[in-house]
């Protein structure tokens, strides 16, 4: 054999070994760190473990929002390889799968990671569980397990305060900018569930698992356990809430009850409500359509977002403003001839009671709700001065309650009018506007929450405490974590003025427009009736067309008790309830009886109802008529 052949053979061998030593050295020594990282990436996945959402309970520990076990059929996205259409077909032999189920499934699947369970069908009935698990071998990719699901045991009772949780959406994710959620997670969507989301939710745990190439879990690398959410204790009194709800009967309306001592909301009723349980896993289009198209607007939070002209319930606050500014003194009187005429004009603003009271002082004007007195007061005060003082009572401002959305109502002003009207006449604040403002009609409108809050300021004689639902939070072992701390401030108004208004409002109950509910009263009570106009009636539409209930005015009643050391304040609005004294005030009386005297008192008082209702000493609705006449003249 020639040497050249051997040299060639040696060269080939040397070449082979040099290549292999270098290549493996390059991969294992130089590229080691990078490739090791890829290897770790290959086998490790991070799976989130869910915290248990905190309960929401009332002040006595009654559970208002809880977590229940719900049986679901679910799959991991990585296991769903075949046609899902076929899967649904074969599944539907054993359980019903609706179009909504499918829609929800595709929606969650499309933004799920490989290790987030995607629910195909939830809330399985016992029969479905039995049926399906017996045939589970046909569906190796599916699992049946219990999942914790939010439950609102009182259904619609708290729909507008507690709200509900729902599936997290892309929009939610952008809003929260928090990575602490998995793709099919629940998040507070409305009400206190939304406002106290971070408190209720807790923190996700993280489990780092080892998986093989097929994605099967083979071991645990390490884990951080989830931190469960805190229990949220509300200031709400469940029994009071139920009572208030029932007292509204079939009426639409709202009742806000606040403890004036600490601002805690004792009851917050907005009727009609809706069942928040429907929303948890997505509401069906039919149900949603029904809620949207319901003329009673069950989705509207009347307590914090429904605004109504305050009517006569506004009068004590106007009186306070007038006293504070020195526009009136407690003893100053006017002559009530049953109507008011702006000097230099001829139009008569009529008193709703169509009586001439003669000489009337401020005390009587409130007690008997004299419109004439307040027409003049409105004009004398003027809208600019009202705007300087009345926001102190929360008018035109948000109360700061712990709900995600509330309406600030409207305290009208020259600026506001200039901005919102085009007509040259309407653009300008007219004297007639001030006159109407004086009896709480016209442009201004506020939420029942604002009215209840303003009432607590009178009850507290100038001490302002922000209303709130939050009482405290506790952990799983009932150890206190955080209590609500009130941050009150005093209004710079002389205490004697408040005392004066309080006694005027007490007179309302004792002998004034509200005395219909005073029978057998075992504590002192101060209040004010009111009427919020619904349509501006004129001579034509007073005809049959506008005789239906839906054109009846809304009834207001605001009150607090006991007068000296108030423990409870309330604002009630009964939509289309007519006169406040007739429909709204008796509700407040029963709530007060229950709260101040106990359950038995409410039963006893039912006997007195008949008596109380016959003494229907009501305001009438001439203000609306006046509006119309006013417009006619100005045009």
């Amino acid at each position: 054999m020639k040497n050249s052949r051997l040299i060639a053979a040696y060269s080939f061998i040397i070449f082979t070994f040099v290549i292999l030593f270098l290549r493996y050295g390059y991969l294992q020594l130089i590229n080691h760190n990078q490739l090791l990282k890829q290897s770790i990436n290959n086998y490790s996945s991070i799976v989130a473990t869910q915290p248990v959402r905190g309960q929401i309970v009332d002040r006595n520990g009654i559970i208002l929002a809880d977590n229940d076990a719900s049986y679901v059929v679910a799959a991991l996205p990585k296991d769903l390889k075949g046609s899902q259409k076929k899967l649904f077909e074969s599944m539907s032999k054993y359980l019903s799968i609706t179009a909504l189920d499918k829609k929800k499934f595709y929606a969650t699947k499309n933004n799920s990671k490989n290790y987030d369970w995607v629910v195909i069908k939830d809330d399985l009935s016992d029969k479905e569980i039995a049926n399906f698990t017996a045939h589970a071998y046909e569906f190796p990719e599916l699992s049946v397990f219990a999942r914790v699901k939010r439950n609102y045991p009182f259904d619609e009772l708290y729909s507008h305060s507690i709200g509900y949780v729902g599936r997290i959406s892309q929009k939610d994710k952008q809003k929260i900018k928090n990575q602490d959620y998995v793709s099919n997670d629940y998040i507070g969507k409305s009400g206190l569930e939304q406002y106290y989301e971070s408190t209720l939710r807790g923190y996700l745990g993280k489990k780092s698992i080892k998986t093989d190439a097929n994605g099967n879990e083979v071991g645990l690398i390490d884990s951080i356990s989830a931190t469960d959410g805190q229990t949220l204790h509300l200031t709400i009194d469940n029994k009071l809430q139920k009572l208030a709800w029932n007292l509204l009967g079939n009426n639409s309306g709202a009742i806000v009850v606040i403890d004036p001592n600490d601002g805690g909301v004792l009851a917050f009723v907005s009727k009609p409500g809706y069942n928040p349980n429907w929303f948890i896993d997505g509401i069906s289009l039919d149900d949603w359509g029904d809620l949207m198209n319901d003329s009673k607007k069950p989705l509207l939070n009347r307590g914090a977002q429904g605004t109504y002209p305050p009517g006569s319930t506004f009068k004590p606050f106007l009186a306070l403003t007038a006293l504070f500014l020195g526009v009136r003194t407690p003893s100053s009187t006017i002559y009530d001839q049953g109507y008011y005429v702006i000097p230099g004009s001829t139009h008569r603003f009529r008193d709703s009671e169509k009586v001439a009271r003669g000489k009337v002082n401020l005390m009587d004007a409130i007690t008997y709700s004299s419109d004439t007195y307040f027409y003049k007061l409105g004009l004398d005060l003027g809208i600019d001065r009202a705007n300087n003082v009345m926001p102190m009572f929360g008018f035109g401002r948000k109360t700061g309650v712990d709900l995600p959305i509330e309406d600030s109502g409207l305290l009208p002003s020259r600026d506001w009018k200039a901005k919102h009207f085009r007509d040259d006449y309407q653009k300008n604040w007219q004297a007639a506007d001030s006159v109407i403002f004086g009896i709480g009609q016209g442009l201004n409108h506020y939420t029942p929450l604002q009215m209840a809050f303003a009432t607590t300021i009178i009850a507290n004689e100038g001490k302002v405490i922000t209303p709130h639902f939050f009482k405290n939070t506790t952990d799983k072992n009932n150890v206190l974590i955080k209590s609500y701390v009130t941050n009150p401030h005093m209004l710079p108004i002389n205490n004697s003025y408040f005392k004066f208004i309080k006694s005027a409002m007490q007179n309302v109950i004792l002998k004034g427009t509200g005395h219909g509910i005073s029978a057998g009263l075992q504590y002192t009570m101060a209040g004010k009736t009111g009427t919020a106009q619904v349509v501006a009636m004129n001579k034509d539409n007073r005809s049959a067309k506008f005789q239906g209930k839906q054109y009846k005015d809304h009834a207001w009643f605001t009150a607090f008790a006991p007068v000296d050391k108030p423990r409870i304040a309330i604002a009630v609005i009964v939509e289309h309830g007519g006169f406040g004294a007739a429909s709204a005030a008796p509700i407040a009386r029963k709530i007060f009886d229950y709260y101040l005297l106990g359950e038995s008192a409410v039963v006893v008082n039912k006997l007195n109802d008949a008596v109380a209702n016959t003494n229907d000493d009501s305001e009438s609705i001439n203000t609306s008529q006046l509006n119309w006449e006013d417009e006619n003249e100005s045009n």
């Binding site: 082979t16 090791l36 290897s39 290959n42």
Partner: protein, 368 residues
């Protein structure tokens, strides 16, 4: 002489049959076999049945090694022609009644499944060595043509299965013989130029999966979950081993199913991931030592037949290592070639042992 004496003598002769053999090669092969068992234990995820099967293969192949090493070389010469004919007939049989797995007909079921193309790795160099050793004159042009025909017949049959990897190894084993009997350089260069020039034509005739393998080698990331997957996962396994490795039985790439065929073609990933660069170097150095010893045997071989067979075997062995380890490390397209002595036992291991048995027979003739 008593019966026991007789027995003792026979035993002594048997032991001598072992002791007369080249101890360097035997020791290296034993070392590799030991490594094989440890690596296969890990690569088969400690499945007892498979380990026992592997050990049985090793045992059988060592027995075959000793037997072949003690066969007279002239006897071997006499068997080359029948062996060649049998291997060709087997290849034809494969095409007719072969067992089809994953789209390729490569196996014959004779109670145990055998792969006739593996036999050609043995029969092709032997028949060529035999053919040229009978030439008393200098090998001329026509002799090369005959030799080429002897090579291309089995190559074509194997390529038809299709099994390009084994086909190339068979082709190479024959070409090595031609090279060592003196195939002129100008012919070699001409062949290389022709090959390069005809690349587009060859490319055209390659199967889709073969084209894919070459394409993904050039850019594995182009198809990380498809054709590039094997290459990428292999490289990750090798690289994650680092210098010292993840520790025996601790390789995550290997044990969590990221490596396909980890006990056969990709077995070096097990070594690399669990024993690191050090483990790879130990294997490479054992191979190198074996090759150097073989080259010494080639140098001292007594005649053309033995020299050519020994040289061709050494070169083929080197080529197996280059193709397998190069493929797994991503420098050569994925062709199914096992890593000598480390991959799970099979026909390839038996054939390899027969080749080294012949090598030992040659060494014995050399009288070390």
């Amino acid at each position: 002489m008593s019966l026991t004496d007789n027995k003792f003598k026979r035993l002594k002769r048997l032991i001598n049959k072992f002791y007369n053999l080249d101890k360097t090669i035997i020791l290296i092969l034993l070392a590799l076999a030991t490594i094989n068992i440890f690596i296969q234990y890990s690569a088969n995820d400690k499945v007892a049945g498979r380990i026992i099967n592997d050990i049985a293969y090793l045992g059988v192949s060592f027995v075959i090694l000793i037997i072949v090493a003690n066969i007279n070389l002239n006897q071997i010469k006499n068997w080359t022609v029948p062996l060649y004919i049998i291997s060709i007939l087997c290849l034809i049989a494969v095409l007719v009644v072969g067992v089809k797995i994953n789209g390729a007909k490569r196996w014959l079921n004779l109670g145990i499944r055998i792969q006739p193309s593996e036999i050609c790795k043995l029969s092709v160099p032997l028949i060529l060595g035999y053919y040229y050793s009978n030439k008393n004159t200098i090998v001329k042009g026509l002799d090369y043509i005959y030799g080429l025909i002897l090579i291309l017949m089995p190559f074509a049959l194997i390529a038809k299965q299709p099994d390009l990897g084994t086909g190339i190894l068979v082709l190479a084993s024959g070409v090595f013989v031609l090279f060592f009997v003196g195939l002129p350089w100008r012919v070699i260069i001409l062949a290389i130029v022709t090959f390069v020039a005809s690349t587009p034509l060859i490319w055209h005739h390659l199967h889709d999966y073969q084209q894919h393998r070459i394409l993904t080698l050039l850019n594995p990331q182009s198809d990380p979950l498809g054709k590039g997957y094997h290459i990428i996962q292999g490289i990750i396994a090798i690289g994650s081993g680092g210098l010292y490795g993840q520790g025996y039985l601790n390789g995550t790439q290997v044990h969590l199913d990221f490596i396909p065929e980890k006990h056969t073609d990709f077995v070096i990933t097990v070594v690399a991931e669990e024993f690191g660069y050090i483990g790879v170097c130990v294997i490479l150095l054992l191979y190198l030592a074996l090759i150097i010893r073989c080259l010494m045997i080639v140098r001292d071989a007594p005649d053309v037949f033995t020299r050519v067979i020994a040289a061709s075997t050494t070169m083929s062995f080197t080529l197996y290592i280059l193709i397998n380890m190069g493929m797994v490390a991503g420098v050569i397209p994925v062709v199914g070639v096992p890593l000598p002595f480390i991959s799970y036992g099979g026909t390839a291991t038996i054939i390899l042992m027969i080749q080294f048995g012949i090598m030992l027979a040659i060494a014995k003739r050399n009288k070390y």
